[in-house]
């Protein structure tokens, strides 16, 4: 058991370092279901209204793809159905990032070496990280079950089942992240691997849900643990056996992580760094070459992913030729799409999510890649040569700004052409591409904002930029659900399919993005670096 020596001390260190973040994370997970309960209580005055909503939703591809089928037509059942995605997303993402932060990132920073030289066993770091995050997941679940059963007044069994889904998903993805940390050769690539696995499993669940609603086979969503989360069926006929699946999978991935950790040398990864060229090629000629080298991986990956997802969605959308008017509430909700088919509406919403939201997230990450260059000390190096600050910033922000149009092209063209080929309506390719491009200015505003924050408040730029993006996204989600009126100053409302397109407002967004970017560049030129 020497490999575990020092685990207790490391657990105290982790809790001490991250107690604030852990508390905030748990609070976020607990917040979703009560907010949804309040919103749904306002939406439905009577049981008839609720049942009408359930009937309409069951045939609605847009919603079923995201949230899965509704298993219980009760208040509690709807809250669980609506909150599942949010809660599982927060639990899985938080658990993954925490585990990588305290395993692979510690190793990269050289702190694991420092700690490992003390009376600390080889597996103590991994054990401490997993223990803390799984205890946090279980604690959050216990609090959530208590909150739903005792405060909100939902049935006890269902509340326990729903809350346990949170803990099960969190623990499983913590284990997956531990494996990613062993396999990858750096914390950055471990994060990419873990989040990529999550996105892939999410896509499987979505395709399974949508396929089943379209009359396809029911087993596809069972291929993904995120599909199992829906099969727990809280507040309906709870299937407790699903937790056995979660437990077995978690034990499996954690065992795999331990097996790898016990064999691996410090600093090494299974995906090792090989040798490369002994001199720089023509591509690495200057700042743009360097920025491209640093940014191309995420950009190419995102482009490929959006092209594939777009193609899959285009195929699904083409299968729903029924008019939007068949569903009066949906037609009212998406008034500007009057006359379109249900599939068209589905694709319009999906392209909004892919280009506006995913494109903005990609852009923010690209700008913050420049900030990482600064904190890692690389920027000092570059600016000690004859490279100017403006040109360096331009190389990174320029590539960030190129992201959304490229992603719009990938998603819009692939979705549109598959739709056109499948449905025989040739105009769909151009329509989808045009629709995708309208979301680019909103993503640009986020890139401009991230640049301005980087220039003026470099230390806080990361948390602030992601925080604002999360706030805007949450506002849009609440606005879509009818819980709030259209939020002011939120760039993501402008091109939303719920509103008629106004090209002048798009131009305003473009100008705002340009202004923020220039302000960021000016602030960056005036501040200290490093």
């Amino acid at each position: 058991m020497q490999a575990f020596t020092g685990t207790g001390a490391l657990i105290r260190l982790l809790v001490r370092r991250d107690r604030g973040a852990l508390a905030l994370w748990i609070a976020v997970m607990l917040a979703f279901p009560p907010i949804n309960a309040a919103a749904l209580a306002r939406m439905f005055a009577s049981t008839e209204q609720m049942q009408a909503f359930v009937r309409e939703t069951e045939g609605n591809l847009l919603i079923v793809a995201f949230h899965g089928p509704i298993h219980a037509a009760t208040g509690a059942g709807l809250v669980a159905w609506r909150s599942l995605l949010q809660v599982v997303f927060a639990a899985a993402l938080g658990s993954m990032l925490f585990v990588i932060r305290h395993t692979r990132a510690e190793e990269d920073a050289g702190r694991r070496e420092l700690v490992g030289a003390g009376a600390v066993g080889r597996l103590a770091g991994l054990t401490a990280a997993l223990a803390v995050v799984i205890v946090a997941d279980v604690a959050a679940a216990a609090l959530l079950a208590g909150l739903l059963a005792l405060v909100v007044g939902f049935p006890v069994a269902g509340s326990i089942a729903f809350a346990a889904t949170l803990a099960a998903a969190g623990a499983l993805f913590a284990g997956l992240a531990a494996v990613a940390g062993e396999v990858a050769s750096s914390a950055t690539s471990a994060r990419k691997l873990a989040i990529g696995a999550f996105a892939g499993l999410w896509a499987v669940r979505m395709l399974g849900n949508a396929g089943e609603a379209a009359g396809g086979p029911g087993w596809v969503s069972w291929l993904s643990p995120l599909g199992w989360a829906g099969e727990v069926r809280a507040y309906a006929d709870e299937r407790w056996a699903v937790f056995g699946l979660f437990a077995a999978a978690t034990v499996g991935v954690v065992a795999l992580a331990y097996g790898l950790a016990a064999r691996r040398d410090l600093g090494a990864g299974l995906l090792a760094l090989g040798t490369g060229p002994d001199a720089a090629g023509r591509g690495l000629r200057g700042l743009v070459g360097l920025a491209w080298r640093l940014q191309r991986g995420p950009l190419l990956l995102a482009t490929l992913a959006l092209a594939l997802i777009g193609a899959a969605l285009g195929g699904i959308g083409a299968g729903f030729a029924e008019g939007l008017e068949a569903s009066p509430s949906l037609a009212a909700w998406l008034a500007p799409l009057r006359g379109a088919t249900l599939g068209d509406a589905f694709l319009a919403l999906m392209l909004y999510v892919l280009v506006a939201l995913v494109g903005a997230a990609h852009g923010v990450a690209a700008v913050l890649r420049g900030r990482a260059e600064e904190t890692r000390g690389h920027l000092t190096w570059i600016l000690a040569t004859s490279a100017s600050r403006t040109r360096w910033l331009g190389s990174h922000v320029g590539l960030a700004l190129a992201g959304p149009p490229i992603l719009a092209l990938a998603a819009g063209l692939s979705a549109g052409s598959v739709d056109a080929l499948t449905s025989g309506r040739e105009e769909r390719a151009a329509e989808c591409l045009g629709l995708a491009l309208t979301h680019v200015p909103a993503a640009w505003v986020m890139i401009g904002l991230a640049t301005a924050l980087f220039g003026r408040f470099p230390r806080a730029a990361g948390p602030l930029a992601w925080g604002v993006l999360a706030l805007f996204t949450a506002q849009v989600a609440l606005w879509e659900a009818g819980a709030i009126t259209r939020p002011w100053l939120n760039p993501f409302t402008v091109s939303h399919p719920m509103l008629a397109l106004d090209l002048r407002l798009l131009a305003v967004l473009g100008l705002a993005a340009a202004g923020l970017t220039i302000a960021g560049a000016l602030a960056f030129r005036a501040r200290d670096v490093g």
Partner: protein
């Protein structure tokens, strides 16, 4: 232009800390200038200010005849910088980074690059993520010495190098001086400074507390003398300090101006054996380090 670096009353504060507190540093063209000081004395901040990475709160800095904050990129064409803690892009190879830095500076001599890679025994095909601390340092040194520049700014450049590579580094600095380059070298390795530098400045708490040629600075410290006399030593010896007498043996410390009268007096007493230790940089340096600790 005889002065490559001039700062006058340079002040830089970070919150309540005064990293630079009226720094007056002068480095003449063609000299190898040692820059010494305890940790946290402001050495790295000085380099950052000279590179125009941070703006000074007060005072003036001139580098190669220009203002480093305003004319940074133009001036940087003529200098190369090596930080003490080199961080590299983990996915790029050492050779790619040497070339990239050279291109960003406006070109480098391929023959010199090849020769330096050979001398520093650097494997340029390895990804930087797999380099040890010493190897990362070598990448920066090869990039700096291969550049055709007038000024080298070296901030603790040899941390992590093994003794063999340390020798190569010293050769490179001496060659740079022979080629007419100016070098500002900060280091904690005093033997390295003694072997390569002709001028030294000592910084403490953001100020230069001592500056001058190594010979002149030696002058400021006392020479240690141990002598065995033919007769019983006198109780007092004018000009000598810390006199200790043990039988016919006498030990003392002598200031530079008092060497001649003291030795005349000792010669009169009859010298049988004598050892003289010249002042070391270490003594000089310790004086300031200890003053810091007090």
């Amino acid at each position: 232009m005889t002065e490559v670096i001039v700062t006058r009353g340079l002040v830089k504060t970070y919150g309540r800390t005064r990293a630079l507190d009226g720094l007056d540093l002068t480095v003449a063209a063609g000299e190898v200038h040692g820059f010494l000081g305890p940790n946290g004395a402001g050495k790295s901040t000085t380099f950052r200010a000279l590179l125009g990475l941070v703006g000074a709160d007060a005072g003036e800095a001139r580098l190669l005849g220009g203002d480093p904050w305003r004319d940074g990129p133009a001036l940087h064409r003529h200098l190369a910088y090596v930080p003490g803690d080199v961080t590299l892009w983990p996915d790029l190879t050492g050779g790619e980074i040497v070339d990239l830095l050279g291109r960003l500076r406006g070109g480098l001599d391929p023959r010199r690059r090849a020769a330096l890679i050979e001398r520093f025994e650097l494997d340029p095909r390895r990804r930087a993520g797999t380099y040890s601390k010493g190897n990362r340092q070598k990448v920066a040194l090869v990039a700096a010495f291969a550049a055709d520049v007038a000024l080298l700014l070296l901030d603790e450049p040899t941390s992590g190098l093994d003794p063999l590579m340390e020798v190569v580094f010293r050769e490179c600095v001496i060659e740079a001086r022979a080629a007419g380059r100016t070098v500002l070298l900060s280091s904690h390795i005093l033997s390295e400074v003694e072997a390569t530098c002709d001028h030294v400045s000592i910084i403490r708490a953001g100020r230069i507390v001592e500056s001058g040629s190594l010979a002149a600075l030696r002058h400021l410290t006392r020479t240690r003398v141990e002598v065995e006399l033919a007769t019983t030593p006198p109780a007092a010896l004018p000009g000598a300090h810390d006199v200790r007498v043990e039988g016919q043996r006498l030990g003392c410390e002598v200031e530079a101006e008092a060497i001649e009268p003291v030795f005349r007096r000792l010669a009169e007493l009859g010298i049988r054996a004598i050892t003289v230790h010249p002042p070391t940089l270490e003594q000089l340096f310790m004086r300031h380090y200890q003053a810091e600790a007090r």
